[in-house]
Symmetry: C2
Subunit: 302 residues, 2 copies
Amino acid sequence: MTRVVCLTPNPAIDVTYRVPTLTPGGAHRVADVLERPGGKGVNVARVLHALGVPCVIVAPLGGPAGTWLADALTDAGLAVRAVPVAAPTRRTFTVVDEGGTATAFNEPGRPLTGAEWAAVVDAVNEELAGAEALVVSGSLPAGAPEDLLPRLIAAGVPAVVDTSGPALLAAAGAGPVLLKPNADELSAALPGLSHTDAARRLLALGAERVVVSLGADGLLGLAGGEAWRVAAIPGVTGNPTGAGDATVAALVRGLIDGTSWPDVLADAAALGAAAVLEAAAGDVDLAAYTRFLPTLHAERLE
Amino acid sequence: MTRVVCLTPNPAIDVTYRVPTLTPGGAHRVADVLERPGGKGVNVARVLHALGVPCVIVAPLGGPAGTWLADALTDAGLAVRAVPVAAPTRRTFTVVDEGGTATAFNEPGRPLTGAEWAAVVDAVNEELAGAEALVVSGSLPAGAPEDLLPRLIAAGVPAVVDTSGPALLAAAGAGPVLLKPNADELSAALPGLSHTDAARRLLALGAERVVVSLGADGLLGLAGGEAWRVAAIPGVTGNPTGAGDATVAALVRGLIDGTSWPDVLADAAALGAAAVLEAAAGDVDLAAYTRFLPTLHAERLE
């Protein structure tokens, strides 16, 4: 039985090329090509799947790239509800050199038609029957309906949203159980405020809880009148892409399991750190997670 | 009726991204994505098609990328004989900045099985029935049979070959009607010789004619005991990718039409220059070609 529905409004095939060095203006022979299903909602679902939480990915998919992506997710053991759309699914290209420097090229998501967005909403609502939570992660393609997230959140199943820009503010007003911006996204949406004040503004707009991921400064979690903080694990370095998605996976699991708020935050920080150790977004080092968890505790700020 | 069969042993989808500037280590939002069928044999066929010479592309194609490539060629009005293979067709990925600097990342062609190579040879031989020439253009994927080009050339239809490395020397021994290396390819295959001496070596190995494209220094053409030279059009700048393929298209057209050798060479130089003016490999500026042609004449060196 599906417990969590993971909507990925802007899925991608993440292509990674390894080259010895990146020389602008040069011609590079690529020794190693890695293609992997991507998009933040896909990464959240991968982590939930690794944690044993039954979930389904809902995503608009188009063209040969969309077919490839659906097949690759199914092959990885993930449940997928593909919503067929005309526009081909986008790619991201990342070039990694021998020193580990990553240079990313992100195609924009191609616009969907109004009827295609309506089909996405219908698919989410069908999959939500009997589910305990909805996760919406990632950007929206240009031209997405402004009321898309409010409508999905208002449908009644507790919604956890990790997005940015105007969509973040629009989501807050519809009463999600949790918003999870990172520090940059929060500052961009609500400039000129401290992280705590900006998070309070999201609560005032209607969010029940707000968690702000602060990278090396850990996590900040607000709920009701309380603010909590979890420090980061010292010395954890690696690939930060996907850490936020692992954090979201831990948060949604904690919420549907009824775990206490401080324990949910500590768990989310530990799983985020365990994701940093993995080269690919959507993977977590479960052994490291088990080591990290007892060392982390949420501290009440106010 | 097909006059020319264009074998592309290593086809690709050429993906071009436009970005304002390329910053190593940065994350780039890609405003403009262009996907186009690529591979040198494909480019030759595009130019022959633009010249009104009926031709067919033979290429091993695999995966969703292979399907896309066959469909895109068909949509462009080109005849394609796709040989289905298991390995997905590769991509090349070029990032062009606002200053026009192109940074290229080329995936290697994935290996085919022996049975797949046999199917490629069978397809070429079937398409050659009634045709006047075979063109083989581009690199061979790793693991291609060493006797692939010799067997195709020895089949009897006049063969024009544009390749590099050991395959260039192997082709020479089988008696092709024409080899068309560029200066770098010729020097790499036969190091330490002048272009003329290296070209003579290819004649000695068995090639009937050799044309060396020298970029801004024009073309060098050897046949029998004669050596001819055509200067480049002064001041033509732009995209040199695809100029060699336009040159090959002009050479093969001239040979099957029975045009005199000096006129074939002048025509090839004019069409190559007209390709430099176009942003995409496989396109030629036919108006420029018409202007250039009367200004070019082959000069006999010996």
